[in-house]
């Protein structure tokens, strides 16, 4: 696979430099060189939200540092958790004295580094709560949510928690709402092609020209089944069936839906998939609020799509609809 890059070693820092150069609302904060914060800082008297994660998923994670979304974000190497220093920088940058919600995906390295950083900063009086993205239904049984991976659905938690924080809610309340957003969200993805780490000499996995993998993770972690390519209609039917098996949707229920491209999928196909999705959701009688179609959480050059659904109530809906000003998602 060809990559527009210079050296594998410089990849992440060069990407970050370009991102910052193009987006004046974001700045590096701290000493690690791997934490991005809002230029405007944390609004006085509000809870901060720090996230973080490996590189290779843009706009996730760092792209969502913006008003109404994240306060700061620690940036790891490609598909690796953010290091300790960057997590400390992220928490520090998000701390406006009202505490910091740590909101990131359920992966080992990420958890360890944020936990260490939070422990160290607790000694300095910084209060934190942690909420993990665990929306990938393909990654463990419903009874085993603590094992589930966090994937595209985390952007709903960002948006909703971000609005709660900006509205001045306190740390426990922001954490409760973030957890509620996570608990209301389910995602499943289907991969069509692989991706490759900068510097690696082969793709992360092999997949035949006519094969797809249902349930694959955003780093190429194994999914539920691998088989022949199917029509968009068949794929959407299966994905919605799997999601609604554990997130029952009754007529009148308000939901939002995210049709997310994994990186290399043409926007045409994402809209086609959205059309199929909407047809099936309409048949269930649910009401779709603020549908999202585009590349929100990617795996570099992986082709494929994920479908996320979040159920909304009177508490979550206004928070989802609250304004946000991110270069990749404006509400």
């Amino acid at each position: 696979m060809k990559k527009l890059m210079n050296t594998a070693g410089g990849y992440v820092d060069e990407v970050l430099a370009g991102l910052l150069a193009a987006n004046p609302g974001m700045v590096l904060a701290g000493e690690s060189g791997r934490n991005v914060a809002r230029r405007a800082g944390v609004k006085a008297g509000t809870v901060g939200i720090a996230s973080g994660g490996g590189s290779g998923h843009l706009p996730l994670f760092v792209g969502y540092v913006a008003e109404g979304l994240l306060s700061s974000c620690a940036v790891g190497n490609v598909f690796e958790g953010p290091n300790l220093a960057s997590c400390m920088d992220a928490i520090t940058a998000a701390d406006g004295g009202k505490g910091v919600l740590l909101l990131f995906g359920n992966y080992g390295g990420d958890k360890m580094n944020f936990a260490m950083a939070a422990e160290m900063l607790a000694e300095e009086g910084v209060e934190t709560r942690t909420v993990l993205g665990t929306d990938d239904i393909a990654s463990a049984e419903p009874g085993d949510k603590a094992k589930r991976r966090g994937v595209a659905g985390i952007v709903y938690a960002y948006k909703i928690a971000g609005a709660a924080a900006d509205a001045g809610m306190d740390l426990d309340e922001v954490a409760r709402i973030a957890q509620k957003a996570v608990d209301s969200t389910r995602t499943i993805g289907v991969a069509l092609t692989s991706c490759q780490l900068p510097g690696a000499d082969a793709p992360t996995f092999e997949i035949a020209d006519d094969e797809i993998e249902m349930g694959m993770g955003i780093h190429g972690e194994r999914g539920i089944w691998r088989g022949k390519m199917r029509t968009a209609s068949e794929l959407v039917a299966e994905m919605i069936e799997r999601i609604t098996a554990e997130l029952p949707l009754t007529a009148g229920q308000k939901i939002s839906v995210l049709v997310n491209g994994l990186g290399a999928t043409p926007l045409e196909e994402l809209f086609l998939v959205y059309g199929e999705t909407k047809k099936r959701l309409d048949a269930l009688g649910v009401e779709i609020v603020l549908p999202l179609v585009g590349n929100y959480v990617t795996s570099m050059e992986m082709a494929g799509v994920s479908l996320s659904i979040i159920t909304l109530d009177d508490e979550l809906e206004p928070l989802l609809k609250a304004p946000a000003q991110c270069p990749f998602w404006k509400v």
């Binding site: 190497n77 690796e80 958790g81 290091n83 300790l84 080992g108 390295g109 194994r222």
Partner: protein, 201 residues
């Protein structure tokens, strides 16, 4: 008789030369079970370690410097655990210019416990820590460095072989525990290779 911070530096220098050859092998093992980056990550960590100059002769200070360098180089699961191991060893060896070979076993056991606590795994989950546990046991009371290397290599290899057909219970590979049967855990595999390389000296 024991090792100094100079010996640690020499082992790292050796790894820095040899590990790039293993990078893609380790990636491939991780690609089957996880996200395919174990080798790339380790190679980066080792190359970061190789450019560390430990301050003076304090073994503890050297471990501490290596721990910090590892923590700077990566936030991956395995890398973070390695950093934890270095920092744990740093505490136990602080202020000492030489550490007896026979202390390696308790140092490894300490590191193992710190990593279990940090990562939330249990022994038996089929991780690098099961390999380390076996190595710590096999090296108990061994005082000769050559015998130490041999026992360590044998134990790490034994752990890899005897866990191969068990399911992974933590880390990325947990997702499809049964699917992981028959496959080498990349962390355990890395441990085998690292011990083999150091033992070659």
């Amino acid at each position: 008789m024991g090792f100094s911070s100079h010996d640690i530096g020499a082992a790292i220098a050796l790894l820095a030369v040899k590990l790039p050859d293993l990078e893609q092998d380790l990636n491939r093992a991780d690609a089957k079970l996880g996200d395919g980056d174990t080798g790339t990550m380790l190679a980066r960590v080792i190359s970061a370690l190789a450019s560390v100059t430990p301050p003076g002769n304090d073994v503890g200070a050297a471990f501490s410097a290596y721990g910090r360098a590892t923590a700077m180089a990566t936030g991956s699961s395995l890398g973070t655990l390695i950093a934890t191991a270095f920092l744990t060893a740093a505490k136990a060896t602080k202020g000492r210019e030489s550490v007896a070979w026979s202390e390696i076993s308790p140092l490894l056991a300490d590191a193992r416990d710190a990593m279990l606590a940090r990562g939330g795994a249990s022994l038996g989950d089929k991780t690098v820590l099961d390999g380390l546990d076996a190595v710590a046991a096999a090296t108990q009371d061994v005082e000769d460095p050559e015998a130490l290397g041999k026992s360590a290599a044998t134990a790490a290899r034994w752990a890899l072989d005897s866990f191969r057909d068990k399911p992974n219970k933590i880390g990325r590979a947990r997702m499809f525990a049964d699917g992981s049967k028959g496959l080498d855990d990349p962390g355990m595999l890395a441990l085998v290779r690292v011990i083999e390389i150091i033992g070659e000296r």
